[in-house]
């Protein structure tokens, strides 16, 4: 059984007990524990079930490579699925639930799948569920979804906050092991800005566990001294609990800092996403130990050898009383020594190698009284929910059992693979390292930056330097080389930290144990624990023709789980290479993509949640609208009142009331959101003649003109009223959503094509609150407020003037989008609310009511005015909307003119704008299509038109609409059929789109 030892545990504070719950059971741990070490200390070997066969799964590793120990962490607002027990620091009150089991972890119905495993081979899902086709969607998928899946989806709102932080440095060192510390120390000596990120809460990596002296003192002393030295340097930033998740182009790195996960009671954000721009990146990310592939290597109690000694040394936890070590290298012997020193039993070390003579560690092991069996292997592991023993065989054979050894833990080591993820994210290539049987970064083919120079360098074990002295030398050289790249220099006399070289025998690659294992054993030799991929599956994939490693990965799901194959990839592709009869480097690796280890979605969102989720643009009168019943409509990022509801009236009734009131009395519209661009300069007139389809240069100061804008492909992109302010200044109104877009459009043409034109543009949209005063009583209201002359004689239709009304400095435009007598009045935004209040007060006995965007739409539709975004959709040209009158024939050129000559644009068969009037007074559904007899080549009903705007008009007491119809203007009076999505078919007659006041008398009074 696994338990807490009386001694050891350099990372735990045994004077501070911590209580937590696992599957409802109360357990005890210590401050400094990970959830993994605490579970093991409580003899909780079984932590989950595998994805496909629901096999019992125990903890395998001690770091982010852990494939099995995933839990649902926390509850309600702090719930998080798929939390890795090895990277979750224990805190008081932690609650965790195991995943992927039903009804319970101990007794799982899905485990029956293991008896069916012969029928669930690689590619099973593809083979089984492909026919008959409809069954997948309706039968197979719902069942599989129910029985599969890891953590639960959170259901409550996250109670925590998150943030980003932008950071800049010359050298970013990733990994706070001894190589990272040495690289950071060296780089910092030059005065460079250095940042060092360490994913755990501790510095030094695994060297304090593995031992060794640096600069003549114990490694831990050197680590402490180096951290102390770095922490007082002004040019160095140190962060623990911060993982570099990804390396991106231009030296961009994402760092994921877990601020309060270990102490949820702390104030402040939970996670911080560091968005770092680094001049150069040094990855000292260490290495990950590989499992060995033998039958039963997934039974709880089988662990990576280094993890077993991590738990003993770091946390004072023993995984078992009797641990068999199985290895192909010298490193795993350290585990045997650590266990022996902790007073535990190591019945045997099964070493797959056959060496001509004992290596130094073998001699040492034997001196400690440990049996060392050279050339031996695990035939199979005994046990179901935990290890009870191993059957020993010869590595060279097929698995004939030579001996049974009782044990409750197995520590395995298949060698080490450098963590090359960050090196590879931006294209760093790998080479096969024969001596260590691993892929390591190829220094000649590193990731290149915009300048063609390498911007990532590896250091230490991440380079493939597994010996302490090599790692330190490599880290020093990495820093030195990095500084040269940056044009910086080490101070004279700077030296690498020194360590002793350990005498090591070479490892031997072992991809299957025993090497001739028969299919019965191969079927129980796991490669990917989380996704249940076995040696037999990869071989089957190869046999079925999946020769590319990327294809085999997807077919077998090897390495596709949340651990992204940190343990399984190399073993898997070695197995594939073996099955294909290829060399491993010829098969290659799959692609390494960010993040290195999962990061929270919320950290990516940062501050963007709740009120700060998205910017909402507010006009100066926003609060008034809000307090007066506004139902909001998003228009771009603006919020505009759709309608103002009174009492218990519904939205439709409010809109109808607003339309009638504006037609009969007086309406106020907040039009502040319309874009206002000042265009000034000696060439402004000529420029605007190019921007607009109609003539703007001939406009007289004091006058307004409606204009259309097309893009260079001829499509309508915006419209609005242009006012000429003085000889060389125009003010161009744009649509609400168009201000920034049209501003950018103008700047682009000025900066890239017509740079010789003397024109400046400024966006003054937000300088003004603009209020439309609309209706028969509009003039009376303004005259009551008093000030400037707003009579028809002085301020005629399509005139504008500056003046004072009611004591406010205003600019008044006599323009109308409603067909009524209308003034659009601009005041400085800081006075907008006051002016609105003044209008509401003076209008009280003139029947004033504010109106919203839906009323605006109905008013304009009754007049047949088009709306950008309704009648236009990016494929519509002015000719479609019968706006030929706005296309200047006098101008030599304007944007869109040439495009309009293209055959498709000039095609008489283009659908054209007409009015539509239902035959029974009902309202046409928005977006409905007019249909004709017959079907097209795709078997769809032939269509001859569509509705672009449709409303109930209270003024006319019936439904009115606009639409684009094939040969529309030539078909006046014809009745078209519009099938709705409600099953009904609507009939509508083609009519003139101007439904109301065709002569325009009402606006011109």
């Amino acid at each position: 059984m696994s338990t807490r030892l009386a001694t050891g545990g350099r990372l735990v504070n045994k004077s501070r007990a911590v209580k937590f719950r696992f599957n409802g059971k109360h357990m005890d741990g210590f401050e400094g524990d990970t959830l993994a070490s605490a579970l093991l200390a409580n003899d909780q070997m079984l932590v989950g079930r595998s994805f496909k066969y629901h096999r019992p799964r125990g903890i395998v590793a001690a770091g982010p490579e852990e494939p099995n120990g995933l839990v649902n962490l926390g509850e309600d607002g702090t719930f998080e699925p798929n939390a890795r027990v090895t990277t979750t620091e224990l805190f008081d009150g932690l609650t965790a639930q195991s995943q992927n089991h039903w009804p319970s972890l101990e007794f799982d119905v899905g485990a029956i799948n293991k008896y069916l495993s012969r029928f669930l081979p690689a590619g099973f899902y593809y083979k089984m569920f492909i026919h008959p086709r409809p069954l997948w969607k309706h039968v197979y998928e719902p069942i599989i979804r129910h029985s599969a899946g890891l953590g639960r989806a959170p259901k409550s709102r996250d109670v925590d906050t998150y943030e980003h932080f932008y950071s800049f440095c010359d050298v970013l060192v990733v990994g706070g092991g001894v190589a990272g510390l040495e690289a950071a120390r060296t780089a910092a000596l030059s005065g460079a800005r250095v940042m060092l990120m360490e994913q755990t809460a501790h510095w030094g990596g695994r060297t304090p566990v593995d031992g060794g002296d640096i600069d003549g003192k114990p490694a831990q002393d050197w680590i402490d001294a180096t951290v102390a030295e770095l922490s007082v340097m002004e040019n160095v930033t140190l962060r623990t609990r911060t993982m570099a998740a990804g390396v991106y182009d231009h030296g961009y790195v994402l760092g994921y800092e877990q601020l309060t996960d270990h102490a949820p009671e702390m104030a402040g954000p939970r996670h911080r996403l560091w968005r770092v721009r680094a001049g150069h990146i040094i990855t000292a990310t260490g290495a990950i130990e590989r499992p060995l592939s033998f039958a039963g290597n997934d039974i709880p109690g089988v662990m990576l050898a280094a993890a077993v000694r991590d738990y003993a040394v770091n946390f004072g936890v023993s995984v078992g009383d009797r641990t068999v070590v199985v290895t192909n290298n010298d490193d795993a012997y350290l585990t045997a020594f650590a266990l022996k020193h902790a007073g535990l039993d190591v019945p045997a070390i099964l070493d797959a190698r056959v060496l001509p003579q004992d290596s130094a560690v073998m001699t040492q092991a034997k001196a400690l009284g440990i049996r060392v069996l050279m050339g031996h292997a695990v035939s199979s592991v005994q046990g179901v929910k935990r290890v009870t023993g191993v059957s020993v065989c010869s590595q060279a054979g097929e698995g004939a059992v030579l001996e049974e050894i009782n044990c409750d833990a197995v520590a395995m080591s298949g060698g080490w693979s450098p963590v090359v993820h960050l090196w590879s994210h931006c294209g760093g290539k790998l080479k096969w390292d024969t001596a260590n049987a691993c892929f390591s970064p190829d220094p000649d083919r590193g990731p290149l930056g915009a300048d063609g120079a390498q911007f990532v360098t590896t250091a230490g074990a991440a380079t493939g330097m597994f010996q302490l002295d090599d790692a330190l030398n490599d880290a020093f050289a990495a820093a030195d080389g990095t500084l040269r790249c940056l044009g910086l220099k080490l101070p004279k006399g700077a030296k690498a930290s020194k360590a002793e070289h350990r005498d090591e025998a070479p490892m031997a690659p072992v991809w299957l144990m025993p090497q001739g294992a028969a299919v019965k054993l191969r079927e129980k030799a796991w490669l990917d624990y989380q996704n249940d991929v076995k040696v037999s599956d990869v071989r089957l994939a190869a046999q079925e023709g999946f020769v590319s490693v990327e294809h085999a990965k997807r077919y077998t799901t090897l390495g596709m789980a949340t651990d992204q194959g940190k343990l399984s990839n190399i073993n898997g592709l070695a197995t594939l290479a073996g099955a294909l009869g290829e060399e491993i480097p010829a098969v290659g690796t799959t692609t390494f993509r960010p993040p290195y280890h999962p990061i929270s979605m919320a950290s990516i969102g940062g501050e963007a949640r709740d009120a700060a989720f998205q910017p909402i643009r507010r006009t100066p009168m926003y609060d008034w609208h809000n307090a007066n019943g506004a139902e909001w409509e998003p228009v771009g990022q603006w919020r505009r009142p759709y309608a103002y509801k009174r009492g218990d009236e519904n939205t439709h009734d409010a809109v109808m009331r607003e339309v009638t009131n504006t037609r009969e009395k007086l309406g106020l519209l907040d039009a502040s959101t319309l874009g206002k661009l000042i265009v000034k300069g000696p060439d402004a007139g000529a420029f605007l003649d190019l921007m607009y389809t109609n003539m703007m240069s001939t406009l007289k100061p004091g006058k307004c003109r409606y204009g259309l804008m097309c893009n260079d492909n001829g499509f309508l992109i915006d419209d609005g009223v242009v006012a000429r302010i003085d000889e060389d200044t125009w003010l161009c109104h744009t649509t609400t959503g168009g201000a920034e877009r049209i501003h950018a459009h103008m700047e682009e043409w000025l900066q890239t094509e017509w740079w010789d034109m003397k024109v400046y543009v400024a966006n003054v949209t937000e300088q003004y609150a603009q209020i439309a005063v609309v209706g028969p009583n509009a003039r009376k209201a303004l005259e009551k407020l008093g000030g400037m002359d707003v009579s028809k004689e002085t301020l005629g239709f399509m005139d504008w003037a500056d003046g004072v009304i009611g004591g406010f400095n205003v600019r008044v435009y006599r323009i109308s989008f409603s067909g009524e007598l209308s003034y659009e009045i601009a005041v400085d935004a800081s006075h907008g609310q006051a002016f609105w209040d003044a209008l509401m007060a003076v209008g009280a006995d003139l029947g004033v009511m504010p109106y919203g965007t839906e009323c605006l739409h109905i008013l304009r539709a009754e007049k047949g005015f088009i709306m950008i975004g309704d009648e236009s959709d990016g494929t519509v040209i002015p000719q479609d909307l019968n706006l030929h009158w706005a296309l200047s024939k006098k101008k030599e050129d304007y944007l869109g003119k040439r495009a309009h000559l293209r055959s498709h644009m000039a095609d008489p068969n283009r659908w054209k704008l007409v009015g539509l009037e239902t035959t029974d007074g009902s309202t046409l559904p928005d977006g409905a299509y007019a249909v004709a007899e017959g079907k097209n080549e795709n078997g769809q009903r032939n269509m001859i038109g569509r509705v672009t705007s449709t409303y109930h008009s209270p003024t006319l007491g019936k439904g009115i609409a606009m639409g684009l119809v094939h040969n529309g203007p030539d078909r006046m009076g014809e009745v078209l059929e519009f099938p709705g999505t409600d099953g009904k078919t609507y009939s509508a007659r083609i009519v003139d789109p101007v439904f109301y006041d065709k002569e325009g008398e009402k606006q011109n009074v």
């Binding site: 906050t161 943030e163 980003h164 932080f165 932008y166 950071s167 800049f168 800005r193 930033t237 702390m266 104030a267 402040g268 954000p269 911080r272 968005r275 721009r277 940062g606 501050e607 963007a608 009120a611 700060a612 998205q614 910017p615 909402i616 643009r617 507010r618 006009t619 100066p620 990022q637 603006w638 000042i678 000034k680 300069g681 000696p682 003397k758 400046y760 543009v761 400024a762 003054v764 949209t765 937000e766 300088q767 003004y768 004591g807 406010f808 400095n809 400085d828 935004a829 800081s830 006075h831 609310q833 006051a834 002016f835």
Partner: protein
């Protein structure tokens, strides 16, 4: 004329790691033109009360000031009530030159972020190198605050002035407050 009302009516937040306050109405004039031309420089200096700033620089003196916005644009700052008079004066002086001067005082909101942790608050929202050696008082950046365009400078150490569009004042205030929330010190500057 009514009293000028700024977007957030001098809202403040003092519970966090830096103080956030809206500054009320500030006079601002956008001036576009040939920044190397002497008449333009003279007119701008007369309006702003400070010299023409260099690239990415902002000079201030009392309520007056001037920021470099782009190779052909300056932002002149003054007391809100002086903006129209200064604008008229500018236009007078620049009559006959190709330049554009407009009042944008009401189109903007101005915030102050103050305190020893002000740099950190800003670095959570703007992709700018805010290390003390990299960003010093007098420097000016046109950048973004979270999702919206903004500009800022430091009139003195520990104090940032942030300018954004008026319509997003509430958003900018909200994100500044989130970034300044208690317990969110980063501890790097």
């Amino acid at each position: 004329m009514s009293e000028a009302v700024s977007a957030l009516k001098n809202a403040v937040y003092i519970a966090g790691i830096a103080e956030i306050s809206e500054m009320g109405a500030v006079g601002m004039i956008t001036l576009r033109g040939d920044l190397a031309a002497k008449p333009l420089q003279k007119a701008a200096v007369a309006a702003a009360g400070v010299n023409v700033p260099d690239q990415r620089q902002c000079l201030t003196e009392g309520t007056g000031g001037m920021a470099w916005m782009s190779p052909d644009e300056l932002l002149i700052m003054c007391a809100y009530d002086d903006a129209n008079a200064k604008l008229a004066d500018l236009r007078d002086k620049l009559a006959g030159t190709h330049a554009l001067a407009v009042n944008v005082s009401d189109a903007r909101a101005v915030f102050e972020v103050r305190g020893p942790k002000a740099r950190e608050v800003m670095a959570k929202l703007a992709p700018v190198d805010l290390a003390p050696a990299s960003f010093t008082p007098g420097m000016f950046r046109r950048t973004r605050i979270a999702q919206v365009p903004a500009a800022f400078w430091m009139p003195q150490e520990g104090v940032f002035r942030v300018v954004c569009f008026r319509s997003v004042a509430q958003y900018v205030f909200d994100v500044l407050c989130v970034a300044a929330q208690p317990g969110s010190e980063v501890g790097v500057f």
